[in-house]
Subunit: 446 residues, 2 copies
């Protein structure tokens, strides 16, 4: 019987529901997901209809009871807001619970007391979901880029403003009208202040800067300017100058002081910025987020993906839960397996031993591109079409592109078909008298 890690979930809104749905559906995920159990879920209204199937006895309005419950190993705070989230997280820590949170506003304002309490209690507070939704940002900075000296982090960290700016860019509209439309479509909140005035992005860059530069950030010192004053005229002029306007969040180590770690000064700021069109961040559009990390010796790396939403954010929350569970598993085993060999972190040590079954390439189903040279005679395209049809290859287009020296070059794109059938058709076609040359096939990305 596997060890089970007991989870207390604070909140069952969008992210909480997404989190529960992953834990309740462990198939094809990391085997450790099966060792998670949702012991309690704290909600405000227990009778509200939900899209997740939880036994009624785990749902409670007694949130205090969850964070003090001695059976619970990991408290997952996905309720948002400052209070009561702050008090509950602190109480959970005092009771020796590890904490996973998606609450950027809380961490950006109260990381000081929260991390101090966590350090004293010897528990983890993980917060991958607080920045960039599902995009791995926090953990890569902690674990994959930890050898680097981080020079600069530049991110598009707020989906709502990026959506508005993208539409302003594409449609030429003004801020107010597109904001109203975004609110109607659910991309912006009724009170859009946190997003459009840059505060949400400021919370996130403060969290990332603290990690990257190993010091706390006073949020009041983060310069923050939103996108309300951006007009269609600015976007138009920027476009003529070769730029797009993006709301960028930046954390940069002051170049003057970069040689002496004692006198480090940082720039941490959020403001609309003219981004050269060929820059990787210029093509991050709509509600997508991206974060560009520049360091020594890595150079530039960029992480791109969905910056919000139930599923992506829950992906980050559950991954944090699994990271804590993996460490607890090693700790509880006393660092050794029953046979006496060291117990390894189950996320870091691949222990699979079976071979995957791999589909032969002939069974691949995708779209194909091919071209061929044929004699320029009437009926060639018909002959080719019939041959493809006989082999169950449905064509999307067949076009004669060039004609020279009595030869016609014909380009063919298929619908999604089986590769084996395409090969069979081409084998037959190569033998046609009218066909001079068939260079091969190329596959088309779906």
């Amino acid at each position: 019987m596997p060890v089970v890690f007991q989870i207390g979930l604070l909140g069952l809104g969008t992210v909480g529901t997404g989190t529960a749905n992953i834990i309740l559906n462990p198939e094809q995920r990391h085997p450790l997901v099966r060792e998670l159990n949702i012991a309690q879920v704290g909600v405000r209204s227990p009778d509200k209809a939900r899209s997740v199937d939880l036994p009624p006895e785990v749902v409670t309005t007694d949130l205090d009871g969850i964070v003090t419950n001695p059976d619970i190993d990991i408290v997952v705070e996905v309720m948002g807001g400052i209070e009561p989230a702050r008090s509950l997280v602190l109480k959970a820590i005092q009771h020796g619970k590890h904490v996973v949170t998606a609450n950027k506003a809380l961490i950006a304002r109260h990381s000081d007391e929260i991390f101090t309490a966590a350090e004293a209690a010897g528990v983890y507070v993980l917060l991958e979901a607080a920045v960039g939704g599902g995009i791995p940002v926090i953990e890569p900075l902690k674990q994959s880029l930890c050898a680097n000296r981080i020079d600069c982090i530049t991110g598009i960290l707020n989906g709502t403003t990026n959506y508005i700016l993208t539409r302003m860019q594409q449609e030429g509209g003004d801020f107010e009208e597109i904001l109203a439309d975004a609110q109607e479509l659910g991309y912006a909140e009724a009170d859009p202040t946190a997003d459009v005035d840059g505060f949400d992005a400021a919370d996130k860059i403060a969290i990332v800067a603290a990690l990257a530069y190993g010091g706390r950030i006073n949020l009041d010192e983060v310069y923050c300017e939103g996108i309300r004053q951006i007009t269609a005229t600015d976007i138009d002029y920027a476009d003529r100058l070769g730029f797009v306007i993006k709301l960028l969040a930046t954390a940069r180590r002051d170049r003057q002081s970069s040689q002496s770690s004692q006198s480090d000064r940082l720039e941490v700021r959020v403001h609309p910025t003219l981004v050269p069109k060929e820059h990787p961040l210029a093509n991050v559009n709509d509600v997508f987020n991206a974060i560009l990390v520049e360091g020594d010796p890595i150079g530039q790396v960029m992480f791109y993906g969905p910056g919000a939403g139930s599923g992506p954010t829950a992906s980050a929350v559950v991954s944090d839960i699994l990271n804590v569970a993996a460490l607890l598993k090693v700790e509880r085993s006393g660092s050794t397996k029953p046979d006496g060999t060291p117990m390894l972190d189950p996320l870091l040590a691949p222990s699979h031993q079976h071979y995957c079954s791999i589909r032969p390439i002939d069974d691949l189903e995708t779209r194909f591109y091919t071209r061929l040279l044929a004699k320029d005679e009437p009926g060639v395209i018909g002959t080719l079409g019939i041959c493809f049809g006989k082999n169950n290859v449905s064509l999307e287009s067949i076009v004669q592109i060039d004609k020279h020296n009595e030869q016609a070059e014909i380009v063919i794109v298929t619908h999604k078909v089986r590769e084996g059938n395409v090969r069979q058709a081409l084998k037959a076609i190569r033998d046609f008298d009218v066909v001079e040359y068939v260079p091969g096939i190329l596959r088309v990305l779906d």
Copy 2:
């Protein structure tokens, strides 16, 4: 005195030198870097001139002595090739050393015996540098995306072929001529087979697929097709159809079987592919790599960056070393600190307590964009220019764009200047009689 982790480095080529350089220069990196010590470095020619400053007594030609040295905690294999790397890694594992390797060819072919030996010995074998150079790929898949059901991974994983295809796309040249040029410039090897025939990308996607789908991959079953047959004509036709041609490495869970984990079948394949121009992978050019992961519930995330090179690859190698060191640190402490509280993984638990010093926005130095409405009178641009000059704001351009109702709209872009000076200049300009309206400033990304 901190715990010190003893590193044995096998190889002092490009990646080995980069690795040593990070460890020998720990300033402004994670504090744990200071606890790493290069105990021994194994090389073939000890007298070769190197760009790294190591005490002569650590350099040895006795590689066997390194992997059996009882003082060494972590063996770092950056010599490449199959033998003697394979035998040395296996011997290191048998002697209880943790292993960090950048050797994709070795892992893709011998992961079976290596991971089996590591499991039996209870040691870690980490290999972030084997795929995507410095781009975090392996660890995010293991730790940040572990809650997901991975549907598909699509990557541009070979820099040489991406460089060649990018130039073919941009210049319209044919494969052979651009390959020759790439060889001359050092972007392709004298024997380019591993790159241009897709074998390097196949090694990498096999490693990634094993991780993502939790099973081993038989490299012989990975379909592999390179870019030798791609012609300027194909690139031209693809362009007309709205595509670019990229060498993609793909690992996909067979959709038919995606509901039953028992009968999983994978597609694992490398081949040139027509990629729609608006797809995120279409804009990954030159020697850059990118990997797109699609999963449930995350949706799509993409990791982008330098796929090779001394610095980026060393970044991944040293990060792996630090991950092992962090786990060893907890283990050696007996999981508790001297005061009895639990010892936490130093990479996951931020323990900084000081506040970072943040530069005020007035001290920011960057380029600025601003525009203003002025009366359409002679000399306005001169007056503005003088005012900016007085405030030490050097201008890149000042252009009158539109003129209507006796008003001229003037757009100004500065060189890199101090923000405080720009604000001071604009304050003065707002008081000019000829100036009607100054909406504010926008910063320009460097």
